[in-house]
Symmetry: C2
Subunit: 210 residues, 2 copies
Amino acid sequence: MKLVDKSCVEFTNVLASKAAVPGGGGAAALVGALGTALGGMVCNLTIGKKKYAQYEEEVKQILDKTEKVQKCFLKMVDDDAEEFLPLSRAYGMPSNTEEEKAEKDKVLQEALKNACSVPIEIVRTSYEAIKLHEALVDRGSKLAISDVGVGVQCLRTALISGQLNVIINISMIQDQDYVARVKDEVDQLVEDGTKIADKVYKQVEAVLLK
Amino acid sequence: MKLVDKSCVEFTNVLASKAAVPGGGGAAALVGALGTALGGMVCNLTIGKKKYAQYEEEVKQILDKTEKVQKCFLKMVDDDAEEFLPLSRAYGMPSNTEEEKAEKDKVLQEALKNACSVPIEIVRTSYEAIKLHEALVDRGSKLAISDVGVGVQCLRTALISGQLNVIINISMIQDQDYVARVKDEVDQLVEDGTKIADKVYKQVEAVLLK
């Protein structure tokens, strides 16, 4: 059974348990899916409304993208769990002889890169979804503007949480070119993404407090 | 069927739809539950470990609290939806005559206060759960420290999102004593809570980047 097919209560309970999966990565992906869904909801509440007819086509395009991004996030909840298991197995490999040590090291390094791929993708996808909320904040129905605010806060959390999970994995990766490349990309996306998320949130607040 | 008994995929899909519930309030409560569950997971990964024996009793107490808080958050997902329906009905009441207007106003004002009670509770509970993560960051297993970071980011989002939903509701409430009282409490909890959450996150980052 997929993790995302568990009920919200069950998922939360297994998250709280000492079970190996889901962990912070899976939770981040689910929070990203919820944030993106709120963006989608705002699109659905805007489309067809006369007052927002001028944005209709753009909002439909945003909805099309949120639907795809939401699916990606939900898929990553289980992807993250699947990549964790080989990593866990690699840690358990014997390392008594030089041959065993070398073999364990090789398997572990590959498993670390694979495990790292999901949180990198969480960061990229969160950034993309934050950009969708940036486009939506001026075009979506004002009746649902608070949901743009909640959505973008969820995505800010998914973005930062993805980065935390990248940091854990790359700290043990020996391939320094790979580490530098990943770190550069992720740090930049987090820096830019949090700035955009905070700007969108401030726009929401300004409308609500007017 | 309760919203929290839906699978994660179903909940996300109905959130994205134009259905009246769940909305931003329910999403905020679920994200709060996920954040709290991560704190609980860190407790469960710490309890019984020799290295952390000195914190065992404190961590058990934190776990006891995260379990209660997690249940409260999950309950609030559905509570938020239940309070929304009478509000939606009140908006739909006729207001053609003076009597109808007066009656609608009375029902609406009460429904607004009821609807406001859940996001106020989301703010309070998020603050409480952030304080639990503050206690946990120095006492929990260092192997799971990134999960404290993800947990506290989720709770930061729940806190701020609760506030957004309070703002929408109180903007239409006429009882200015009530509005001032709620605003004072919520603003203070959000100010203090985000500061603590950011401090905890920085502690996590410092350990991971060491």
